[in-house]
């Protein structure tokens, strides 16, 4: 068990190190970092000060260590746009993103898992096809099209909900729906195939032969076993939602991390981009680590495999 955890932790740390190194490398590859970060119109003494602070005249390996030193102290530099420390800017945008990502994740789980399970129980019927068709729609329709479609219907035509911005809880409804629908589609599809596989297992037939009511068999034998691999998909979905949030926040002018990233990329505010990259890497790696550990705890066979 401890070996399992340690191994996963090591891999997680390695991934974060790789991501930070990746950012370091491409920043150097993109040209003189002082030009990239400060922009082409920066006054020469600002450039000189920047080069001094980042140690750009020192050998590359020393720069790499200084880079890590900065990160571990929470110093990602200052934003090009308003000069504030980048970490503060980025952290201030996190609550807004969590406001839509949290409910969206819950919505995906609430719709996707029951939907997929329902479809699996009624395989090859009209209900199954309908649920599967909806889920295919969920991941072929891009989030910006879905979001704009919802805006068109609910804001422009019906005037029921605001078209964007972050004022009052009603403005969060459309973004959450847009983010959540894509996730629900993925979850539904996955839950359906996991459930279908479980339903074909001998122990299900044994439970039913024992005389247990069908409902009990489904609820207490089939569903929990189908949910175990589904947990791993949720880890992947966190990442997919982060990526989705980038587009959705831009569609709805929601002032979160995603929109900050888009604005920063557009104005080539590289310091902000690096910080967000780091935070996303840490989040993803943590989420996957938690999911891995959860999976190992829920399914003892995984731990047994690891122990061998």
């Amino acid at each position: 068990m401890v070996r399992f955890i340690l191994f996963r932790l090591m891999r997680a740390t390695l991934t974060v190190v790789l991501v930070v190194s990746f950012a370091f490398c491409i920043l150097r590859l993109a040209g003189d970092p002082s030009q990239v970060v400060l922009g082409p119109n920066a006054p020469p003494d600002a450039v000189a000060a920047f080069r001094q602070a980042w140690g750009l005249q020192r050998p590359l390996y020393l720069q790499y260590l200084l880079y890590w030193n900065g990160i571990l102290h929470g110093n990602f530099g200052n934003s090009m746009l308003d000069g504030r420390p980048v970490l503060a800017v980025v952290l201030s945008h996190i609550p807004a993103t969590l406001e839509i990502m949290g409910p969206a994740l819950l919505l995906s789980i609430a719709i996707g898992i029951p939907g997929g399970a329902f479809a699996a129980l009624r395989r090859d019927t009209a209900t199954d096809r309908a649920v599967m068709a909806l889920s295919v729609a969920g991941f072929t329709v891009p989030s910006f099209v879905l979001g704009l479609g919802l805006v068109l219907v609910f804001a422009v035509l019906l005037h029921w909900l605001p078209a964007g911005g972050r004022e009052g809880w009603s403005s969060a409804i459309l973004p959450v729906m847009t983010l959540g629908f894509g996730g629900a589609a993925v979850l539904a599809r996955f839950t359906r195939s996991a459930m279908a596989e479980v339903m074909g297992q001998p122990y299900i037939r044994a439970a039913s032969a024992k005389g247990l009511p069908w409902r009990t068999v489904v609820q207490w034998h089939a569903l929990p076993n189908a949910l175990i691999p589904t947990v791993t998909v949720i880890g992947f979905m966190v990442g997919a939602m982060l990526a989705g949030a980038v587009v959705v926040e831009s569609v709805f002018s929601w002032p979160g991390l995603g929109r900050l990233l888009v604005v920063a990329v557009g104005s080539r505010d590289v310091a902000v981009v690096q910080c967000i990259l780091f935070l996303v890497a840490v989040t993803m790696v943590t989420a996957n680590l938690v999911v891995d550990l959860l999976y190992g705890w829920l399914d003892p066979r995984i731990l047994a495999d690891a122990r061998r």
Partner: protein, 288 residues
């Protein structure tokens, strides 16, 4: 349907479904539009017609001069749509192909050489799978700018890790087969083994992997272009048409509806065809 001579792979077992037929028709249409774009479009994509700005499409009060309406500068939406289809499809096709080549090569390399090379490739695969690609793509665009070669190069990195995993797994399995041992015993070199013997056998699965990646590349490109960070004006892609049309969602929704519908139908069509191919070419996958 019975009068049309369908290729053997489709005629087998059951009749081709309605959905797959419609999907293939749509894709054929898109292909024709992409190839003959310059002949089909009635106007240039930059032709400004200030007298007919924001004209609605045909059945909503428009005229035949602009069947799908015009945008805020009077540019014909149909012409821009036609060129956008070509741009988006070309980019997605090129990127998918490059990604397939890169992923397959790395996967085969890892399988053949093993050891450190294999570990390095697996580490790269893990790294790519660890972050959502959109975030990585945005970071690269921030550092390098958004010129077209960078965009294509960036998109070709999408999905390579899936192809590499598949190629490596299949190559390892194939390498354990008797026919590979036989050829090796006859003195065949590595190149010959992989190109003439292993690759044709694993090609089917790789093709399926590519058809799964292709719609996702289209969605990635249109998402980036929608954000204004992908294809740049004056070039027009499906994504950036939606991006520009977004500002007129209340007054002229047709500007963004036309490209949106094309994106949805095209990715849907490719997914349906990909599913069909997977069912027919890869007998190892069970239909859940």
């Amino acid at each position: 349907m019975s009068g049309i001579a369908l290729p053997r792979v489709i005629r087998r077992r059951e009749a081709i479904g309605l959905a797959v037929g419609a999907a293939l028709l749509w894709l054929a249409l898109m292909l024709v539009v992409a190839v003959f774009a310059d002949l089909l479009r009635p106007y240039s994509i930059t032709a400004i017609d200030l007298g007919h700005r924001l004209a609605p499409p045909l059945s909503f009060g428009g005229t035949l001069t602009h069947p799908l309406g015009t945008d805020e500068l009077g540019r014909d939406v149909l012409s821009r749509l036609i060129i956008s289809i070509r741009v988006s499809l070309l980019l997605a096709f090129g990127a998918t192909l490059l990604g397939l080549l890169m992923g397959t090569s790395l996967g085969l390399l890892a399988a053949h050489l093993g050891g450190l090379v294999e570990q390095a490739v697996l580490m790269l695969v893990d790294f790519q799978a660890a972050l959502p690609f959109m975030i990585l793509a945005l970071a690269v665009l921030a550092f390098f700018g958004d010129s077209l070669p960078i965009l294509v190069g960036l998109m070709s990195f999408y999905g390579w890790e899936r192809h590499a995993r598949v190629a490596r797994g299949l190559a390892l399995a194939a390498g354990a087969q008797n026919y590979v041992a036989a050829i090796r015993g006859l003195g065949a070199g590595a190149w010959r083994i992989y190109l003439r013997h292993v690759l044709p056998n694993i090609a089917a699965t790789l093709v399926v992997s590519a058809t799964l990646a292709f719609p996702e590349v289209i969605l990635l490109e249109s998402g980036l272009s929608f954000l204004g960070l992908g294809v740049q004006p004056p070039m027009s892609s499906l994504g950036n048409m939606v991006g520009y049309g977004r500002n007129y969602i209340e007054t002229a929704p047709w500007i963004l509806l036309a490209p949106s519908i094309v994106i949805v139908f095209t990715t849907l069509a490719i997914s349906i065809v990909g599913d069909m191919l997977r069912d027919r070419l890869d007998p190892t996958t069970s239909r859940a």
